[in-house]
Symmetry: C2
Subunit: 655 residues, 2 copies
């Protein structure tokens, strides 16, 4: 694409401090320069939601979005958040979280609408819309919710009236009677900060005088400042298409997204219909009633019906995206999306790690490798930073990590129950070798001696990443002998950025990695390792630390070592992961802490199992190794082999 | 080397804002973090002179340094500065510039001591010492000189008394009578900012009561705050060695550097001896007198004598470095240094371009590629920046370039005379092809039709760099056809950082480049080129601009493109050169301006030759091309071939 960059001679030249041609001192005029401060690998990342929609519509890309409601329990929250991660991987343009007035929706409770939406944005990296209803609330309360949402990094609001407390609706003086009032209030108090979505009713709002009056109200909401419309669910494509036509006829020009409700069960359909006062068409009831007790059959029908309706909608060319009422369930919606070809199996990653969607972090593009498997912990511990590392880790002016005094934070909890963890990690440990076995089984994916697969470890909440799988044989061998690996990556010497396993960033680029290995091991092993490492100077950088913080390293001047980087057309170099000696000292507290918090505490105090884990915690070292010679075959495996050879040799070799 | 980084648990942990274990907000405590803000590729770069000396002494590396005096004329200044560049390439630890009270030494004149030292530091990247004498000056004058030196980026002062105006020395009330007073004054007014050097007299100061009294004065100077001593010249190694022994005996512990004076001619020796009131030993006069009219013979003797004396000094092991009185000449000193093995033929480059020695620029590690052959112009135009790009060009907050309204600045002048330039670039140009030929001859190194080699071009003050030579055949071919290349680099896919031609940075690293080509060419060529470039999307990035600023590019969002980078053990990635679209618009003014200022103005107004250059200036485009696919063979030559093929094709192909 050729850009005639007229602005280089227009606005750009005009930005110079003095057009008289006199010498330009440079310092003053720099603020209004057109240059960007970050390579912007992914335009989507910095755009606001309405701009993303616009760009998708311009390019003809269709999207989908997903609606969830807040959970009732803390366990439900943990489950919902891992659902966000799984469903987020399919590439929704956004998700939205409903507002439940009865559930203290604006509070700090882990189950509140506000906190669930915040978690989606900050920890799952999902563009999110928070619903907000105005019925029965004061202006001050509403403003308070909005200010809090803004503070938490939320950028989009679905402005709704909400249901009256009483059965009959009474207009309040000075209050909010309609969603329009809420839209106006948001724009009045927060100017253009939020993107605002409003609800449309393809068959008219149940309380509206008429379909036409309801359309008029919708027009008022849009005129008041709404950016796009999501509709209530409907059962026939025609209803939606007529609705869009009628909206356009009265001058509503913004995007209108159909709300798709895949029927997932007889009870949930009945309940929803009751709430929304919709009528289910006869062609549907006639199919469903006969199979009302067969959940699987109803779900299959619901998928088939939704796919059919969505195909009709998409084929018109007038529907830019589909909004799904998921009912917090995965299977039906994912199936519909897969059949429509909208589910993105392998979304392009702008960076090797998942970005947070908080606007405060939009320039962030460097992180320490240590939290690779615990990104939520990293985000939590850095949430108060004023600036985020961009370009270079070393340029960060905010190196202090928040304390991890919150193992109980719901989004850091293990998804597995205590029982499951005991099955995976051993009801009873005999010795250190029992621990080696757990690590080895995690790597190999083989069931342990009780027949259970080890699906996670305290440091890895998920099964082995495809990339780590590249090293599986090597890792198995060393874990068996007590090199307890918790993080690793192979070296990569210039693979295309489109590589399905190690690729990231825009097309046409090349990605690189230095081989990395991080593990716990005994002090005997460390003594031998340090001797061996002398042979690998300066090829291998290492940091070795125990729980007391006794630290040995050959890192020059405590500088970070870039271990993942990418070279892209027309861009500066991006180095998204580093081994940073300073943050390693914060990470070691967390990494050692997990032995106790997640593993030792599964067992009774004073029990042998607990004492074994405590012993490892107290006596093992945490080691990281980087092989700087990324164009050659990694030598890290050889380093470990050399270490064992030295240990196996007659005693005098150790002198 | 293993560092037991105790500070990670000591000072480092203590730098956290709160030791109570409460959550750390990160913002406050960041200032006192131990992290560095730059990868520090070269420790020498950030150390002060006395620290560099200490590190060299610890490691047993011997060094040399060079003394120059300020020139009398502006042409002399141009010559001296190119001498700095040539002699700087041999790796002196520092140079020093003498202070000539009669020559308005503290002024802004291009020949003043102050400006010559500033040029050495800022434009030639040389660690420099400015001499300063205190005789006959007020405290205010002295302070003024020192403040100015500091402002200009000078960090080292040689504190001298200087000669009295009258023949007989009289102590002044409240003035500076001795160098000791000056040392004290510098420390009083500027604390520890400057490194201070003082003079030592191996055979005693000519005006001192005695050798012993003189030693006592020297001790006072050191006690007052001097960091090291450089001695007056001497003719016998024993004189220096005895002097050092005597200094140590009275408690002088700082480095003492011998001042070496290679005898270069009979007259200069006589003059110096008269000034310094030294006696030339009989073993020298007896050799010299008979050959007093044979300059070459005397110089050869001088070299031989100096080498012999230096060998004796170095072999004692007590002499860490040698200081040379060059008399602003190159040959003798270089020859002595080469024979001693101290001249570094191929100094390791910390970055691909030469660093400025101004402390303000010490973090600078990214520059636009455009000024590769005109680094002094780049330094001049960015001298007022408050910050220098570090890590990423895009992070720079100082993108505004100073105007280049100073083609007459002495250090930007061509080293060649108008006559020489006319011989190289043509007494008379016939047409555009005459210009093509000049460019082609510059590339090939072949003499032009009048028998003159083209040693420089307005955009390239020096013959072709070894790196560009790699592309010589390609460049010759395209210049012949009117692709007038002014800057280029080949692609490099991971060569060792020790590579003699393209290597830079610390050992054990790998350097990379994207192929780059920059040239002037006609608008007809540009039209065809733009058609051809469509086939090379997104592999090739381009910027095409004419003198009016009509600009065509496919650079995404005006982002810079990194074209040189290096990966090093234990460090973040360094990307020292970028193609930056914003600074390209500043560069194009300079690049087009050079046609007129340096070339057209050689000819009479209205002359055909001048009109040809003016035509090119008015009608040609400046083009830069980057091939982003650095692991593949560069396609840029193919792009140009395709362009010519299109131009050579029947007309309809151009449609």
């Amino acid at each position: 694409m050729v850009n005639q960059v007229q602005r280089v001679d227009g606005s750009f030249q005009a930005s110079k401090s003095d057009s008289s041609g006199a010498s330009n001192s440079g310092g003053e005029s720099s603020k209004d320069s057109s240059r960007c401060s970050t390579p912007v690998l992914d335009a989507d990342r910095t755009d606001r939601l309405r701009d993303k929609m616009r760009r998708r519509m311009e390019s003809g890309d269709r999207w989908f979005s997903l609606e969830f409601f807040p959970p009732r329990t803390s366990n439900g929250a943990v489950n919902l958040i891992s659902r966000f991660d799984r469903m987020g991987s399919g590439g929704p343009l956004f998700i939205d979280v409903t507002w439940h007035p009865a559930g203290d929706p604006g509070s700090d409770k882990e189950t509140s609408s506000m906190m669930i939406a915040s978690t989606a944005v900050n920890y799952c990296g999902l563009e999110s819309i928070l619903h907000l209803t105005c019925a029965n609330q004061t202006k001050e309360q509403i403003t308070g919710h909005l200010a809090k949402a803004k503070r938490l990094g939320l950028k989009n609001i679905m402005a709704l009236r909400g249901d009256p407390v009483a059965d009959v609706w009474e207009e309040e003086e000075c209050g909010f009677n309609y969603a329009t009032d809420l839209v106006k209030h948001i724009r009045w108090e927060f100017d253009d900060y939020f993107d605002i979505c409003v609800a449309g009713y393809p068959t008219g709002h149940p309380e509206a005088e008429s379909y036409e009056v309801d359309l008029k109200h919708l027009k008022e909401k849009v005129d008041a400042g709404a950016d796009f419309i999501i509709t209530q669910l409907f059962f026939r494509a025609e209803s939606f298409l007529k609705f869009v036509k009628d909206c356009r006829a009265i001058g509503i020009t913004c995007p209108i997204l159909p709300g798709i409700f895949p029927i997932q069960g007889y009870q949930s359909l009945r309940q929803l219909v009751k709430l929304s006062k919709l009528e289910v068409p006869e062609e549907i009831t006639s199919v469903i009633e006969p199979i009302r007790d067969n959940d699987a059959a109803i779900r299959n029908y619901g998928i088939q019906h939704a796919v059919g309706m969505c195909r009709v909608l998409l084929e018109t060319g007038d529907v830019p995206g589909l909004h799904f009422y998921t009912l917090n369930r995965e299977v039906a919606t994912m199936e519909v999306l897969k059949q429509l070809g909208l589910w993105i199996e392998d979304p392009r990653r702008p960076l090797p790690w998942a970005l947070s969607a908080n606007p405060k972090r939009k320039v962030e593009d460097v992180r320490p490798i240590f939290w690779a498997s615990r990104p939520k912990s990293y985000i939590y511990r850095t949430q108060d930073w004023d600036e985020f590392p961009n370009g270079r880790w070393g340029n960060s002016s905010s190196p202090a990590f928040g304390e991890l005094n919150d193992y109980y934070l719901f989004y850091l909890k293990s998804k597995s129950s205590k029982d499951d963890l005991l099955k995976m990690w051993g009801e009873e440990l005999m010795n250190e070798e029992s621990v080696f076995e757990v690590f080895t089984n995690y790597i190999t994916g083989q069931p342990n001696h009780c027949g259970h697969k080890v699906m996670c470890l305290p440091w890895n909440d998920d099964p082995l990443a495809p990339e780590t799988n590249l090293l599986k044989d090597e890792l198995e061998k060393v874990n068996r002998r007590g090199i307890l690996t918790i993080n690793s990556q192979p070296n990569i010497n210039g693979k295309p950025s489109s590589d399905p396993i190690v690729g990231w960033g825009p097309p046409g680029g090349y990605v690189f990695q230095k081989a990395y290995l991080e593990f716990f091991t005994s002090s005997e092993n460390v003594t031998a390792l340090l001797k061996v490492l002398k042979k690998y100077e300066p090829r291998v950088n290492y940091h070795i630390v125990n729980v007391q913080g006794k630290n040995t390293t050959n890192a020059p001047d405590l500088q970070p070592n870039a271990v993942t980087w990418g070279i892209f057309p027309g861009r500066e170099i991006v180095q998204p992961t580093v081994v940073d000696p300073v943050s390693f000292m914060y990470w070691k507290d967390e990494a050692f802490g997990l032995w106790i918090e997640q593993w030792a505490k599964l067992y009774e105090e004073e029990s042998p199992s607990r004492m074994i884990i405590q012993y490892i915690h107290d006596n093992y070292y945490l080691v990281n190794l980087v092989d700087n010679d990324f164009p050659l075959d990694s030598c890290l495996s050889q380093v470990i082999d050399d270490m064992f050879e030295l240990l196996d040799a007659p005693l005098e070799a150790m002198e």
